[in-house]
């Protein structure tokens, strides 16, 4: 069933229900006037475990990219033992093309804070760290002010609302310093602890051993915001939006913020039901392709997910998208649209540069292999490569990530899927840019950087 009213954007005018020009920051008073913190007030009268149960029944899936069932994650927490338990709010939002959490921070920060407070009560967490990406200066100010208001009004700090149930939540803001890897949940925890944001080995998972060695839930901003309407209106209502899985996987329910960018007429964040075909999102929400051009492809939802090819414009934007359309997944559901004038080699090269710069440097393939890929793509773009290099690129990309087991975190999988899907879905375009390779000819073709193609093939054992 489609979304018939704005949910997360109830207070943020957004097409088709409102005009973005009417947007303004919703302060505490206005938030409360429009029904805000009522859900928290009611939740505090309820048994925490029943709240976890509600979220579980709603089948809410994480909005940060991995789509992990939120209620299930919460049940991984050990029972409280009297010591600290944390909530880490992931507002790193550093995925290229993703800007949906920003919308919530910009205009309705109290919705997120209410979600935080309810989650802390439901999961018995006493300290929340709001991790916000360094570049979000403006958003950090808004959220910080909202946190201050929430303290003053007794949402946080154990006075006011919480006092009745003898519960206290503290909420601190932690600003990032400009590293994509700090959005990976355990990289985020390291950063909050004051160290380099290097993803941790798992297990143990954060729910068992997270911040400062204590049980920790990491959730995305949008996930937490969604908790409020779910608790308010119930799991059945939530599941009335979105779609069940067509392939027997967990469903894709509820509305979703989708940030559309690229070659469309009206880029921006829209609230749609999960399962909406990409074409409909572009045509009905984003004003159609720019200058009437033809669709050539789209990043599915953040560059890590890979690309939807020219024939996949009708792909349904739900959590089944990965298996049905040969991308890694829905990701953040923020597609970047490319029109027919786009140079896909340049796109791949650009994305590869991002990943080789943002690799944290822990894992051999991601640290070293990423650079090889980027250099290969530069060469392809410059017309200096051979067809064999395409095979090499394909193999190198395919060999890195959690899925082949060669890395600690998913950043390398993102690089893998982005490059591999672009290469394979636009093979002809790549093939047209390279010289044919004849075995034996390129063996001695030394390069300025001292590396020949044949040697690199040797490097991967091909």
């Amino acid at each position: 069933m489609p979304v018939t009213e704005p949910v997360l954007t109830r207070r943020i005018p957004t097409a088709p229900w409102g005009d973005p020009r009417d947007r303004r920051i919703i302060g505490y008073d206005e938030y409360v006037r429009t029904g805000g913190y009522e859900t928290l007030r009611r939740a505090l009268t309820m048994d925490p475990s029943s709240l976890v149960q509600t979220v579980k029944e709603s089948e809410l899936r994480g909005r940060g990219g991995a789509g992990f069932p939120c209620g299930l994650k919460w049940t991984f927490l050990p029972p409280p033992d009297g010591n600290r338990r944390y909530l880490a709010i992931n507002c790193d939002e550093a995925e290229p093309g993703t800007f949906k959490d920003r919308l919530l921070c910009d205009y309705d920060p109290h919705l997120v804070l209410e979600g935080i407070a309810i989650t802390c009560w439901a999961c018995r967490l006493d300290t929340a760290y709001f991790f916000i990406r360094g570049e979000y200066h403006h958003q950090a100010k808004i959220v910080e002010r909202a946190i201050r208001e929430a303290y003053e009004k007794g949402v946080f700090g154990g006075r006011g609302l919480m006092q009745a149930c003898d519960f206290k939540v503290d909420c601190h803001m932690h600003r990032g310093a400009g590293a994509y890897i700090c959005g990976e949940e355990t990289g985020l925890l390291e950063a909050v602890e004051g160290r380099r944001g290097w993803p941790r080995l798992k297990p143990p998972f954060p729910a068992v051993k997270g911040l400062f060695g204590r049980p920790t839930i990491v959730n995305n901003v949008e996930t937490l915001a969604a908790v409020v309407p779910i608790v308010d209106r119930g799991a059945a209502w939530w599941k009335s939006m979105g779609t069940a899985s067509s392939i027997g996987a967990p469903g894709s329910y509820g509305p979703k913020l989708m940030g559309v960018s690229g070659h469309v007429n009206r880029p921006g964040v829209y609230e749609c039901d999960l399962g909406i075909p990409l074409r409909k999102l572009v045509d009905e929400f984003a004003g159609g392709m720019r200058a009437g051009r033809r669709f050539k492809g789209a990043i599915a939802g953040g560059v890590s997910m890979g690309i939807l090819g020219p024939d996949q414009f009708d792909a349904e934007m739900d959590f089944d998208i990965g298996r049905r359309y040969d991308v890694m997944g829905l990701g953040t559901a923020c597609p970047t649209i490319f029109d027919d004038q786009t140079d896909m080699v340049a796109v791949a090269r650009n994305i590869s540069r991002f990943f080789s710069n943002e690799s944290c440097g822990q894992c051999t393939p991601c640290r070293e292999g990423a650079q090889w890929m980027y250099r290969l793509l530069c060469r392809i773009e410059e017309g200096d490569a051979t067809t064999k290099d395409l095979d090499l690129l394909n193999e190198l990309a395919g060999s890195m990530g959690i899925i082949p087991g060669t890395t600690i975190c998913g950043l390398a999988d993102g690089h893998n899927w982005a490059v591999r899907t672009i290469l394979n879905k636009y093979w002809a375009e790549f093939a047209g840019r390279v010289k044919p390779s004849y075995h034996g000819l390129t063996v001695s073709a030394g390069r300025a950087d001292g590396v020949s193609s044949a040697r690199i093939v040797g490097a991967t054992g091909a």
Binding site: P203, G361, C363, I408
Partner: protein, 903 residues
């Protein structure tokens, strides 16, 4: 009902039992299945970065064996074409980032080079970037960036073993590279040269500079022995070639040090082949110089003179100081010689000048004058209190473990006038004014008692004197105490509450407690805290004094004390006398003999005529140096056993060239009462001989070849020791010592040794809580001597530096610095590096200033490693009235800028 069969998994077709929490890698290793790794080391947390250890698991994607727990029913494959292919690509990627000539596949090379060979990684894959220069700025370690694969093993070892946090990673992605401080120079880094990183580096990027590069000379001999520096007693693997020690590495599974060493134990070994080692006996000639002599000449001379003086002036006109650096066997024989052949209890050792107060106090409180706990307790303790010790510099391997304990979350309280390194890791640092230990401990005890934080049933059941102590402390006020300690009462309360709530704890102490005029009193007041928290006799808790020198514990155990015999037996006990008469041929006198300070006084007064000093440069190390020199110069006979012609040896009548720690067999006893085997790695230079042999020969010459002196091996000395003091050593023999030795008490052959003393009750019955009154330091500050000088050691050197100054350590620290607070420096118009004259009521010294906020204003610190500083000339004659331990820690001094040195 029968137990269910233990869960199993399968690795490469072999069924293996599953242990909870074990990784696939560790279980595979246990079953002899080798999985390649490049970022894993057994003692370190998994890093998981290299991914070489990937294995295939049925039903899962490939996983890294080093951090994936094994689970019941898992079917794991560690080899196969796919894995080989993946590993080969990973190795290629690593190699490709390095310059071509930096590494090469080599089945006999480093771990990385062996893997390159095993996986057949093509040699042509390489970066063409220019090869970066080698960093050789440090005397002991070098870094070759062109070999580094950024595996971070060094970083993890540095953090998880040493706790020094020298390394970091700079940059992201392919630009990630290892750094060790703001510059690319080890010498400028925070490195303390423990070498833990070198041991784990798989590529040879970090290497030791004391060892022969691979492909060079290989060692022809290797033994496991014990470090000859501090009282931690680390076990080292000593490799040598052609009579020269090439390298020392920590013995990996040693109980004491688990593979770790410090800069001294690992690197400072070159002194043993220093050109100025003594190689022949020396006799004073008529002109006042020395002439080389044969052993028989020198031994006959010593024996004859000792007998002559005894016969002329009586046995008590002779005395000896055994060496804490020599073996138990040597100390035992030397005290036996003086007690039985000469007939005097004038036997003392340098423990007098360090931990005698600790031994006396612990003896009074518990009945045994030694540590009640062991180093293994460092890992089990939930609370550690460190008082008057600076372990990260003076006992580095223990210091590192204290730091690890604090990093793991154990509570740490540091009590020291200086803000020592550990203070940064402490929950509370109490900077007690020098000389106020007693008051501070009393204040802590007061809070414990008055806030009901004591271990009541322990105190009631195992201690006596509680009511008296409570009444005694009730009469004092925290505010009044604070005027003495200059520590705010709130800080004292905070510390006491932590001690009370986190105890039982491990109470660690050092010379800052014992080397004071209130040394014994201070240690007793410290023991009160241990008793009130119920710590003594418990695992993971107790008293752990850190012994200064390698065998200071052993020397006291052997009987190198004037008032106690071997094994702390009482000289006036008739049963003991009978036993010794049988074993030694003559029983020692019943009256105690003279302590070291008393011997100096007696020498100056003409009552002591002969002195045998074993391996101690007392002319430099003992306080009030002027007085000591007078004493030495008034003797008729001074016998010195030494490695070098020290200031003390220069004043001898006969000098016996001694074997160093690397050149003899025997045993040392470390600060946790552990008797461990010392083994010769190289022969002594020239005609130098182990101390024990020389003592035996002198005794034989004196006693007419008495059969009771017919020892042919050190193990026979140990066998006699077991008979003489069976209550402590009855079960000790070389055959039983094994790799990790035995901790005394070990009364019989089936006894496993004792990790925790007093576990089943105190040796003296109930432990004593003591009411300890404060007495101000005798060397009081006044208008003309307004500053308090504290003396002590720094990391890179050892005592008076006889050994370490003869190693490349001299390049790390080449002088003694005077540390003082910038405020004092400003007042005195002394700038950093300026030379300062330090004047006490007893003497003067000159040293360069180092401004340091580690000091409390009004206090200064000076080390005593370099003879030119003559630190100990400044130290006064005051000693503890009971232990006679000198006060090195509270000296009133005046400071003034010194004119530039004439040289």
């Amino acid at each position: 009902m029968s137990d269910p069969p233990p869960p199993t998994a399968t690795i490469d077709g072999r069924v293996v039992p599953v242990r909870a929490g074990a990784t696939i890698l560790s279980v595979a290793a246990q079953h002899g299945i080798d999985i390649p790794t490049l970022c894993h080391a057994d003692a370190l947390a998994p890093e998981g970065g290299c991914r070489l250890c990937l294995v295939e698991i049925d039903g899962q994607r490939p996983q890294a064996a080093c951090h994936t727990p094994i689970a019941p029913g898992m079917i794991v494959r560690t080899t196969g074409d796919r894995l080989r292919h993946t590993r080969r690509s990973l190795l290629s990627l690593m190699r490709a980032a390095l310059p071509a000539d930096a590494v090469r596949p080599d089945p006999a090379g480093t771990r990385f080079e062996r893997l390159l060979a095993a996986y057949d990684v093509p040699a042509e894959v390489a970066s063409s970037a220019p090869r970066p220069a080698m960093d050789e700025s440090h005397p002991y370690m070098r870094f070759d960036r062109s070999k580094c694969i950024t595996c971070r093993l060094c970083l993890n070892a540095c953090e998880q073993v040493q706790g020094q946090f020298v390394y970091g990673i700079e940059g992201r992605g392919g630009a990630a590279r290892l750094i060790y401080g703001p510059t690319d120079r080890f010498a400028d880094s925070a490195c303390v040269a423990c070498g833990a990183c070198v041991d784990v580096c798989p590529t040879g990027a970090i290497t030791d500079r004391d060892r022969v590069p691979s492909g060079g000379a290989r060692s022809d001999r290797a033994v496991d022995s014990v470090c000859g520096y501090c009282g931690v007693g680390c076990r080292g693997h000593v490799e040598s070639a052609d009579g020269i020690v090439l390298r020392v590495t920590g013995v990996r599974d040693a109980a004491v040090n688990r593979g770790h060493l410090c800069v001294k134990g690992r690197y400072a070994h070159a002194f043993h082949h220093s050109a100025d080692r003594l190689t022949t006996p020396l006799l004073r000639d008529r002109g006042g110089g020395f002439r080389p002599a044969t052993w028989s000449e020198a031994i006959a001379f010593a024996a004859r003179r000792l007998l002559e003086i005894r016969d002329r002036d009586g046995a008590d006109a002779l005395g000896t100081m055994t060496s804490s650096r020599s073996t138990n066997e040597a100390a035992y024989l030397l005290q036996r010689l003086f007690r039985s052949v000469i007939g005097t209890n004038n036997t003392d050792c340098c423990a007098r000048v360090c931990h005698s107060s600790t031994a006396v106090a612990l003896g009074l409180v518990t009945g045994t004058g030694a540590a009640t706990a062991s180093y293994a307790d460092l890992e089990e303790a939930g609370l550690l209190v460190v008082a008057g010790a600076n372990p990260t510099e003076a006992h580095p391997v223990v210091g590192a473990r204290i730091r690890q304990a604090a990093l793991r979350g154990a509570a740490l309280i540091v009590i020291d006038p200086r803000r020592i390194e550990l203070a940064a890791y402490a929950d509370v640092h109490l900077p007690a004014w020098p000389g106020s230990n007693v008051v501070l401990f009393n204040a802590l005890a007061k809070v414990l008692i008055e806030e009901g934080l004591c271990a009541e049933s322990y105190v009631a059941g195992r201690c006596e004197g509680f009511d008296e102590l409570r009444a005694f402390l009730r009469r004092q006020s925290l505010d009044g105490m604070a005027t003495v300690t200059r520590v705010p009462p709130d800080l004292v309360r905070k510390a006491a509450r932590i001690i009370g709530s986190r105890g039982p704890g491990l109470f660690i102490s050092g010379l800052g407690l014992s080397e004071q005029t209130q040394g014994v009193a201070g240690v007793m007041a410290y023991c009160n805290l241990g008793l009130l928290t119920g710590s003594l006799g418990r695992r993971g808790a107790g008293m752990l004094p850190l012994r200064g020198q390698n065998n200071v514990q052993g020397n006291a155990d052997m009987g190198a004390q004037p008032y106690a015999l071997t094994g702390y037996l009482k000289p006036d006990d008739p049963q003991v006398q009978a036993r010794l008469r049988a074993a030694w041929g003559a029983a020692p006198p019943a009256e105690p003999g003279m302590t070291i300070p008393e011997m100096y006084d007696a020498a100056v007064a003409g009552r002591l005529r002969a002195l045998w000093i074993q391996g101690e440069d007392v002319a430099q190390s003992d306080p009030n140096t002027t007085h000591v020199l007078r004493a030495l110069e008034s003797l008729d006979l001074l016998i010195v056993q030494e490695l070098f012609l020290t200031e003390t040896a220069r004043r001898a009548h006969v000098v016996f060239p001694a074997a160093s720690v690397f050149e003899q067999d025997g045993t040392f006893t470390n600060g946790e009462r552990r008797i461990q085997r010392v083994r010769a790695a190289v022969p002594p230079p020239g005609e130098a001989r182990p101390d024990w042999e020389v003592i035996r020969d002198v005794a034989r010459a004196m006693s007419g070849r008495d059969g009771r002196w017919a020892f042919t091996r050190p193990s026979e000395v140990m066998d006699e020791l077991a008979q003489v003091a069976p209550h402590l050593f009855g079960g000790v023999s070389y055959a039983r010592l094994g790799a990790d030795g035995l901790q005394w008490p070990c009364p019989d052959a089936d006894h496993p040794g004792t990790r925790t003393v007093h576990a089943d009750g105190f040796v003296r019955g109930r432990a004593l809580l003591m009411c300890v009154e404060y007495a101000p330091p005798q060397d009081a500050t006044d208008g003309s001597h307004p500053y308090v000088l504290i003396t002590g050691r720094v990391l890179d050197h050892y005592n008076v530096g006889t050994m370490t100054r003869r190693t490349p350590s001299a390049a790390l620290v080449g002088q003694d610095d005077l540390e003082l607070h910038p405020e004092d420096a400003a007042r005195l118009r002394i700038h950093d590096g300026a030379r300062v004259r330090i004047t006490s009521r007893w003497g003067q010294a000159v040293a360069p200033a180092r401004l340091s906020r580690r000091m409390i204003p009004g206090t200064v610190f000076l080390s005593f490693h370099f003879p030119q500083t003559q630190t100990n000339r400044v130290v006064g004659p005051y000693t503890d009235p009971t232990s006679r331990c000198p006060d090195y820690k509270v000296v009133a001094v005046a400071l003034s800028p010194a004119e530039e040195a004439a040289t």
